[in-house]
Amino acid sequence: MDWSFMTEYAPLFAESARITVMIGGIGTLLALVTGLICAWIMYFRIPLLRQIAAVYTELSRNTPLIVQLFFLYFGLPKAGVVLSSELCGIIGLTFLGGSYMAESFYAALKTVSVSQIESAESLGLSRYQTMRYTVIPQAARAAVPPLCANVIFLLKETSVFSAVSLADLMFTAKDLIGMYYNTTEILIMLAAFYLLILLPVSVLFSLLERRMNRGRI
């Protein structure tokens, strides 16, 4: 094991990790917002928007992220729209993640039974109050586990960003392997940095889940 090599390139890995976290973080956050909006549209069966959301989720779920990225990075310029690698990464992740988030939020809303809603309405609660006091709190609880799974899934998906020249962890690793052939050291560093990013997220979420379960007795 070449330790000096590893210490020499650790700062480079750290810098790429920063990019992975930043682009991954922004993309995941926007995916969450997209997911909330789509789930709302699906739940209230808002005409027209609902059909659009359906087409979007099918498109998004049934094409690989790398294809979506290629489309943004190599396809769009043909139509005169040139996007930076960073922007492609963010848009790509949002596009992919939005549908996964939408599905899990929608499913979470659906776990609240019709009789719960009728019970709220028969107490005189308005539609808004019914959502706010009964449906959303219950749905939020149900949404936490799939939300955690989605966030981790999306952060891992960032590893294909290198395909559009984004200088993320994967990109740096491939680059270094191409130059120095220190495959073992580089792969260990790569895995270590991904763990460094994902482990805290994972631990945070399991704490959150445990807390929510305790709250309910």
């Binding site: 309405e121 005189g124 009964t134 609880r141």
Partner: protein, 248 residues
């Protein structure tokens, strides 16, 4: 004022082509306890749901305190404060404690002072024997306790009438009594109620009037003693005989 809390005139209710009621009329007077019985699927739940606007109706008029019901969102919110409803499956909100369940509507819908509402909630809980459960979550309650909580949640609104739809049907037998005791007490105190139940002994004890519903019509209507001991129609006789075990 006619003294009628609820007056249903020529109600028509259908699900698509499936007509449940073609022309149903019924009144509940102030302070009266009316029990509806009838075979499964005859429309008992549907009738109660029409009364508080959970089901749209296809014809006729429902009067609440002499005023015809309107089905706009705003008017429904008002109506539902006047008509309390308790369902078979408790449907307490699992994300709230007993007290929070009870206070939701008075505080958020009726905009009552929280402290004052809380005091009343505690008095009501005391009355149904649940004072010490105020801070418990529904998960930690027995079926009977949940159902008593649901009754209190309706009562605190000071409704003009309570609609109870088979509120003991999902309970273990030993819990039925504690819930029916509460309803019996309400009946004695002159709370107007429209009750759907399969508990015949309770119906006979609590009802001022019994209505036998079948085939979308009121087949029989009368005093409980008369109805339970000498029903006029063959259909009611057969229905009632199903509730008493006899070796054939």
């Amino acid at each position: 004022m006619s003294g009628n809390i609820i007056e249903i005139r020529h109600l028509r209710k259908a699900f698509g082509d499936h007509v449940i009621f073609s022309d149903l009329s019924l009144t509940v007077k102030k302070g009266e306890t009316v029990v509806i019985i009838g075979p499964s699927g005859c429309g008992k739940s549907t009738l109660l749901r029409c009364l508080n606007g959970l089901e749209p109706i296809q014809g006729g008029t429902i009067y609440l305190n002499g005023k015809p019901l309107e089905y706009g969102r705003k008017s429904l919110v008002k109506i539902r404060q006047k008509i309390g409803m308790v369902f078979q499956n408790y449907d307490l909100f699992p994300n709230m404690t007993v007290l929070q369940n009870i206070l939701l509507s008075p505080v958020k819908v009726q905009k009552r002072n929280r402290r004052e509402a809380k005091e009343e909630a505690e008095q009501l809980l005391e009355k149904v024997g649940l004072r010490e459960k105020a801070d418990a979550y529904p998960d930690a309650l027995s079926g009977g306790q949940k159902q008593r909580t649901a009754i209190v949640r309706s009562l605190i609104m000071h409704p003009d009438i309570l609609l109870l739809d088979e509120i003991t049907a999902a309970l273990d037998p030993e819990m039925v009594h504690e819930v029916l005791d509460v309803v019996m007490e309400l009946s004695r105190n002159g709370t107007a109620m429209l009750i759907v139940t399969h508990e015949m002994a309770f119906a006979e004890a609590a009802a001022d009037r019994v209505i036998f519903l079948d085939g979308g019509r009121i087949l029989e209507e009368g005093e409980p003693q008369a109805f339970f001991h000498s029903p006029q129609t063959e259909r009611a006789r057969r229905f009632l005989s199903a509730f008493t075990y006899s070796e054939s």
